[in-house]
Assembly symmetry: C2
Homo-oligomer: 329 residues x 2
Amino acid sequence: MELNELSTPVLWADIDVFEKNLATMSAAWPGTSLRPHVKAHKATRIAARQAEIGHTAFTCATPREVVGLAEAGLGSDILLANETVDPSRLKAMAAIDGTATVAVDSEATIDAAVAAGISAVLIDLRVGFRCGCAVEEAGPLADRARVGGLDVRGVMGYEGHAMGNLDKAERVRLAEGAMERLTRAHADVGGDIVSGGGTGTWDINTTVNELQAGSYILMDTAYTAQQQPFEQGLFVQGTVISVAPKYAVCDVGLKALGMDHGNPSMVQGEVRGCSDEHTVFVPHDGASVGDRVTLTPAHIDPTMAQHSTLVMVQGHNVVDTWPIDLRGW
Amino acid sequence: MELNELSTPVLWADIDVFEKNLATMSAAWPGTSLRPHVKAHKATRIAARQAEIGHTAFTCATPREVVGLAEAGLGSDILLANETVDPSRLKAMAAIDGTATVAVDSEATIDAAVAAGISAVLIDLRVGFRCGCAVEEAGPLADRARVGGLDVRGVMGYEGHAMGNLDKAERVRLAEGAMERLTRAHADVGGDIVSGGGTGTWDINTTVNELQAGSYILMDTAYTAQQQPFEQGLFVQGTVISVAPKYAVCDVGLKALGMDHGNPSMVQGEVRGCSDEHTVFVPHDGASVGDRVTLTPAHIDPTMAQHSTLVMVQGHNVVDTWPIDLRGW
C-alpha cells in the first residue's frame, strides 16, 4: 500500500531517515551510553529497535511509559527521569518485570519511593529550569535514600535551558555550567551513573556517562534548525479539502500537531494558521481539492502524543504501522 | 471517592457548572435550534446529556465524531461541518444508523459525496477565514448537488474570525458582515437550514436558525475573557513534584493541555512555562511537594483531545468518569 492511499491526517515516519539517525547517534553513544528518552516517541516498537542495536536502558518521563516498556519486555533498566509522590504509580513501577530507577530531589520524593518499594534512585540536580535539588542538598539526600534502603546509583541533571539554543557556542557555555554543578554533586553522592543531556547537547556534553536523547530519532523543525546531523523524518500527511482564491485549507489541524513550538512547516506552501482540524496555507504552486500535502511538526514529542499510530514509510510505500502505545500517564 | 485521591494529571469538570451552562444556552437556543458542536468535548456522554435536554442534532468536525455519535445512538441528525473527499470516510458516514449531512463547498466535495452515497448536504459559505465557497458560487453548487441526487438542506457559514474577539461591538460588526453574505447565499441555495455561529456569537448572531456552539459547556480562559454568562468548568488537577527557592513544578505538562491559545492559568500561582510533563509556576503562598494544584486550560477543544477520560466532580467528590471516546479521525 502507498502512503497516498491512507486516510488523512496520518502521522508517518521515513524509515530510512529513522535508521540513519539511529546509526549516527549509536556511533557516538553506543550501547547503554545512550539511554534513549521514550517521551519523544511513546512507541514500544521504536524502543524495541533501539534495544536491538544495543540501547537496552531507557529514560521515561511518566510512570505509564515505564510500566508500558516493561510490559513490552524492555524493562531491564528503566529510569523515570522525573519526580513523583504517587503511591499507586510508584508501586506499579516497583512491580515491573525488570528494574525501575526513579529520580528524587527532595525528602518527600525519597520517602515516597521507599514507602512504595522502589529499589533504586538517582539524585536529580537542578541544573536547568525545572526539577532537581541544589548541589549542596545532593549529598544529604543520597544519605537519606541509603538509610531508607535505596540503591543510589548516581546523579542526573537535564540542561534543558541549553537544549534549544541555536547558537552552538552558547549551548556549550550553558551546558558546561550545568555539568560543572552535576559533577560537584556527583562527588558528594557517589554511584556509577552520571545521566543527562539530550539531542541539543549530544555532541557537546562531555560530562555524562549516559545521554538521555530522544528527539534525534525523527527530529522536528526546532531541532533541525540547529544544523545537527540528524534529519527530519516525521511528517503529517494531509489532504486539501478547500481552495480559496488566496489560500487553501488542508485537514491537518492542531489536534494532529504539537503546537507549543509554533506552527508546522509545509512542503507545498506557507502556513498561515492552524485551527482544531485545519491548516490554512498559501500554496507555492496552486492547489486542488484532493491534493496530498506534507506538514513538518515543530515539536516531535507532543505531535507523537496526539496520534494512536505511526505509519512507517519507505519511498512511497507503507512498510509497517506501529502503535503509539505509551500515551497517557 | 474525592478528586484529590486520583492520580494526576487528571482532567475534570465541575458538573454543577456544566449543568448551569447547559441550561443557560438551552434557554436561549432550545431544542434543535442549538446544534451542539461535539469537537469541543469529543465525549458521547456529554452529547447524550445535550440530547436529553432537547439538543438532538449535532455538529461534528471529523468523520470519527459522526460515526462515533451514531454508534452511541445519537445519529438522528448529524452535520459534518467540514469538507472531506475521503471515499472510505464518506461511505462510513453514509452508512450510519441515522442521517449524516455533510458540508460541501466545491464540485469535488459534491462529487465525492454523491459517489459515496451521502444523502444530504449543506452548502458551506466562506464567511470567515477557512473553508467555504464564495456567495456567487453557492447557487450553482446547490444545483450541481441536486442534479447528483443530494438533498440540499440549506447553507452554513462559520464566522470564526469574529469568535475570539474580546470587543463585543467588533464581534457584532464582524458577525453581521459574515451573516449578510450567508443570507444572500441562502436566497440562491434554498433549503430550511441556516447554520453557523458559536460560543463567541451566541448572543449576537440573529441570522442562523441553528447555532453550532460547543465550548459553552465548560469554557476556557480564552472564551471566559469575553465576559460571557457561561462559567469555566474544565480543569486539570496536578500535583507539586518539586519545589525550588523561586518556583515550584507540577506534573501537568503540555501533553495534558491545549497550548495553541497559550499557557494555562493556575489558581495557586503564576505560570512561567510548560514542557512535556511539567508546568513551572511561582506560587502565591508557597508550595510543598505533594500539594494539589488546579490548572485552567486556555483552549477547551485540544485539551479534551489530549485525555482519554473526563472526571465529573461535584464539590470535592467524583460522581462519574466519562470516556472521551471520539478522539482521532
